[in-house]
Amino acid sequence: MEDLVRIRDLTVRFHTYEGVVYAIDDLDLDIRQGETLGIVGETGSGKTMTALAILRLIPYPGRIESGSIVFFDKGLRSELELLKLSEDKMRSIRGCKISMVFQEPGSALNPVYTIGDQISEVYLLHQRQELGRQAKRRIDSLLGNGGTLAASIKRPFWRWQSRLYNKIAEGSNPLEPRILSHIPLFRRLLWRLKDEAGLLTVSMLKDVEIPDPDRVAGRYPHELSGGMKQRAVIAMALACSPELLIADEPTTSLDVTIQAQMLELFRRIKADRGASVLFITHNLGVAAEVCDRVAVMYAGRLCEVAGVEEIFLHPMHPYTKALLEAVPMPGKELQTIPGALADAFNPPPGCRFHPRCPSAMPTCQHERPKLKEVAKDHMVACYLY
């Protein structure tokens, strides 16, 4: 199986007034084609930062200090070093080849624009040529039929429109529509693009099982329930059929019943589209349900990566074990992990988990354990192995 994303030696730091935060430290991680990789860890372990690093959206004052993220672009059949791409190029990947679903559907949607507007935006941005083609086709069909007086009067306008949309369809940023789109009133002449995007939006909303998608497209976020909003967000992320969908705790803020529906939706999407999914969660149960492989992170570092069954049946890293112990189950006394999460400004040397680790050894205090493959497809970073 080929890797879709290969992350090597990724280091992300935040330079704040209080000091430097070591958000991600020398991270190596692969996402394979068509798999769902779960990243599990406590809050602040660097899960979300890993996802944002892939999109190069680390917020100020954070910075990717070093490392490489290679993305295999199926369309171009070539490998792209994301960290070296120009900002323009990177923008064409965001939302198109790699998209992301955020934790809070409530805040992920802009309250002042309709659902339809916000999803159409993605199409208008990434699929302008395709929309132009569609629009031209529609105008051409108008040109073809009708000999009425009204139609013959409008024909020269349609011809001009057809040429205009053809230019858009041919791509490479033609001058005429570019000028038009900058002039407030003339911008409206490009309404057909919006129309076409609107049609795609509605079908996308239908795809994520939103009832009555026509009406929902015209609604504002506050008029929808949390589950609906999350479906809309997912629809937005899936609009351009991305090769990698990053889902950052997409179910955390939802009711349990809605959570189940949502997980079902993710499974289906994956099956339908063959996209890879990077599924970030702190909930091991959720990870077990949707993931093929699971990566466990602690304090900005990877502890263990393995297939989902392997990790639940044979956890190796003491942190993974502790996490599994901490999952509440009926008839079992709840275990907590002793100690507190490592201080982000001043992380412990050596293995970052060693102050909380029951089987810590003297080496753990100053030597950083490397990630080793100890069984097939099972990597762990611990001196125990």
């Binding site: 959206l57 923008r91 965001r94 998209s99 955020f102 805040s107 949607l109 935006e121």
Partner: protein, 348 residues
């Protein structure tokens, strides 16, 4: 709620507001002894001995509610009284003075708001960078400069140092004579607008020349607030989840800022801009006085100094009405900017 019923409700609400405001102001003026209020009617030292007769004639020593009732009765009969501050009936004074004030406001407010929004946005997107610090310096200057000082300094530079370049007043002598001649039709008494309607270039240029300094003074002083408000509102907006969503969509930073962040950040700025307009349309005393741009503000100040009670009360009526109307417009504008807002209700 339906727009029309909302407007009707708010306009009806205006009645108790106006009564309350005038009662309050009337009450304050009653704190002055009758003899002091009677001096309003004195133009010559010799009339000093007539003070008791004046008190008698105008009933200045009657009980509070009798005097207020007399005034209210007159107002209900359409008589707002005589404004000694400007020597004309109060009812004529407001339309007579409003054009000057409005002229300042219609130039200053868009300038303040647009530049304030622009600079505030820039400061937010360049947070903690030199541009941000620069706008902060400008804001602090604008915030702390007394407007009479700024006005005088501007006038000394642009009228004194560059002799006669940007004069005070509303028009130069020649243009002033021209606009009052039969060849020039006064549609609005707002010089710039009338000049455009009369297709008179020289008058327009002269009017603009006289507007620059007062508008600049008003702008520098008032822009600071809009700018800082916009900055903080923009920063808050930029930290929201939907901004990350917009970036993750692949939108250019310009679109993220101008479309997604700014529209949300505008909401508090709209309220303040509304009050700013209401404030300026009810007069900018110091600017009007320094630049001899005498309008409502000058009148209100003069009336207060002279204890010209009919004028002060009329000014209160005018201002209260203006604020209520502007408030109404702001509310309606809100619903256009933020779909979550419903007329007469809070954010859902």
């Amino acid at each position: 709620m339906e727009l029309r019923s909302y407007i009707i409700r708010r306009v009806l609400l205006l009645i108790p507001v106006l009564i309350g405001v005038t009662l309050f102001i009337f009450g304050i003026t009653m704190l002055f002894p009758p003899a002091q209020r009677a001096t309003l009617y004195v133009t010559n030292m010799r009339q000093l001995s007539d003070l008791p007769a004046i008190i008698q004639k105008y009933g200045l020593d009657k009980p509070f509610f009798v005097q207020y009732g007399t005034w209210l009765n007159q107002v209900l009969h359409g008589n707002l009284g005589w404004s000694r501050a400007i020597s004309m009936p109060v009812a004529q004074a407001i339309p007579h003075l409003l054009p000057a004030t409005l002229e300042l406001a219609i130039f200053a407010v868009p300038l303040i708001v647009l530049v304030g929004i622009f600079l505030g946005t820039k400061a937010a997107t360049h947070k903690d960078k030199p541009l941000d610090h620069g706008t902060r310096v400008v804001a602090i200057l604008g915030w702390s400069l007394p407007s009479f000082w700024l006005g005088l300094v501007l006038m000394m530079i642009f009228y004194g140092y560059f002799s006669g370049l940007l004069p005070p007043g509303r028009l130069g002598v020649q243009m002033d004579i021209l606009v009052d001649s039969a060849a020039f039709i006064r549609y609005t008494h707002i010089n710039t607008i009338d000049a455009i309607l009369n297709l008179n270039g020289p008058v327009l240029l002269d009017a603009l020349r006289h507007l620059i300094l007062p508008v600049m003074t008003l702008s520098v002083i008032n822009m600071a607030f809009i700018m800082r408000l916009m900055r903080s509102s923009m920063l808050e907006s930029l930290g929201k989840g939907y901004i990350l969503t917009a970036r993750a969509k692949g939108l250019a930073e310009k679109v993220v800022v101008n479309k997604h962040a700014r529209r949300n950040a505008l909401i508090p700025v709209i309220t303040v801009s509304g009050y700013l307009f209401a404030g300026l349309a009810s007069g900018a005393v110091i600017t009007e006085t320094i630049f001899s741009f005498k309008g409502i503000g000058w009148w209100a100040w003069q009336a207060a100094v002279m204890l010209d009670i009919p004028s002060v009360l009329a000014f209160a009526l005018f201002t209260a009405t203006l604020f209520v109307v502007i408030n109404l417009l702001v509310d309606i504008l809100y619903t256009r900017v933020d779909p979550r807002v419903r007329l007469g209700g809070a954010v859902q």
